[in-house]
């Protein structure tokens, strides 16, 4: 399974839907998309990982890189993930403290809106 990326705007927040495997081979494509979005002025991002089948440390690095880019513009990058096998790698690396991780896109958007 390759990586499939789509994005759309909901309530002023850019939602990135990721499907497939994020690894050392595919992660550069996600990195490019996040950079393009930030360069395009999108600083409020939600990455929906509900259809991600595999995530490794390269993918984590890309997500952290994206987070740093949006924070440089006082933005945010939240994640949507309920899969235990994906959540586990965030726990192992301590990144659950770094990202807001939500159960659904609507919840992520609502949480972001309530913080504004």
């Amino acid at each position: 399974m390759d990586l499939k990326l789509e994005h759309h705007t909901t309530d002023g927040i850019e939602v990135v839907d990721v499907e497939g495997e994020i690894d050392v081979y595919t992660a550069p494509r996600l990195r490019e998309l996040l950079i393009d979005l930030v360069n395009g002025g999108h600083y409020q991002l939600v990455v929906n990982m509900e259809k991600v089948e595999f995530l490794d440390s390269t993918g984590l690095g890309v997500l952290v890189g994206g987070l740093k880019r949006v924070r440089a513009h006082d933005g945010s990058l939240d994640l949507v993930c309920t899969q235990e096998r994906i959540l586990k790698i965030f726990r192992i690396t301590g990144l659950t403290k770094v990202f807001g991780i939500h159960d659904g896109v609507d919840e992520a958007i609502a949480a972001r809106k309530s913080e504004k």
């Binding site: 495997e21 490794d56 440390s57 790698i89 990144l95």
Partner: protein
């Protein structure tokens, strides 16, 4: 003798193949289903790291992976050519208190491996630098 041995050109695209083969041999060796995701992720991390080292220092040299399913442990050894880089710090050191948790360690992949495999050894021998990982396995599948 390993159950399956493979070598692959150090390209990121081949890491997925190595993961798939390792997971298939682990399943065949009787590793419980609940542990297969850990095997897949840990092998991917070790291979990604080896590919990165080879791409920087010796892109013509293949990465070696040995999978052994005999006995009560399933063992994976990923070996990269010794590039004389001083080796790796094992076990990886946790982030110091007060450090920005978003500041990822240089060897994040090793930190992931340490969190996944219950038995990991990093050693240097004539073949190069090896990461040896193992998981419990039951009776091999018929």
């Amino acid at each position: 003798m390993p159950t399956v041995e493979m070598t692959f050109t150090p390209l990121p695209a081949h890491v997925r193949t190595a993961r798939l083969v390792a997971t298939a041999v682990a399943r065949r060796s009787g590793v419980p289903e609940a542990l297969l995701d850990e095997v897949r992720l840990a092998v991917g991390e070790a291979c990604s790291r080896a590919v990165e080292v080879h791409q920087e220092h010796c892109p013509a040299e293949p990465v070696k992976v040995a999978l052994t399913g005999a006995g009560d442990r399933f063992e994976v050894v990923v070996t990269n050519t010794d590039v004389g880089d001083g080796g790796v710090e094992w076990p990886p050191q946790p982030a110091a208190d007060g450090q920005d948790p978003a500041a990822l360690p240089a060897e994040l992949g090793l930190a992931v491996i340490a969190g996944l495999a219950d038995d990991v050894q990093v050693s240097r021998n004539s073949d190069g630098l090896s990461i040896r990982m193992s998981w419990p396995s039951g009776a091999p599948a018929a």
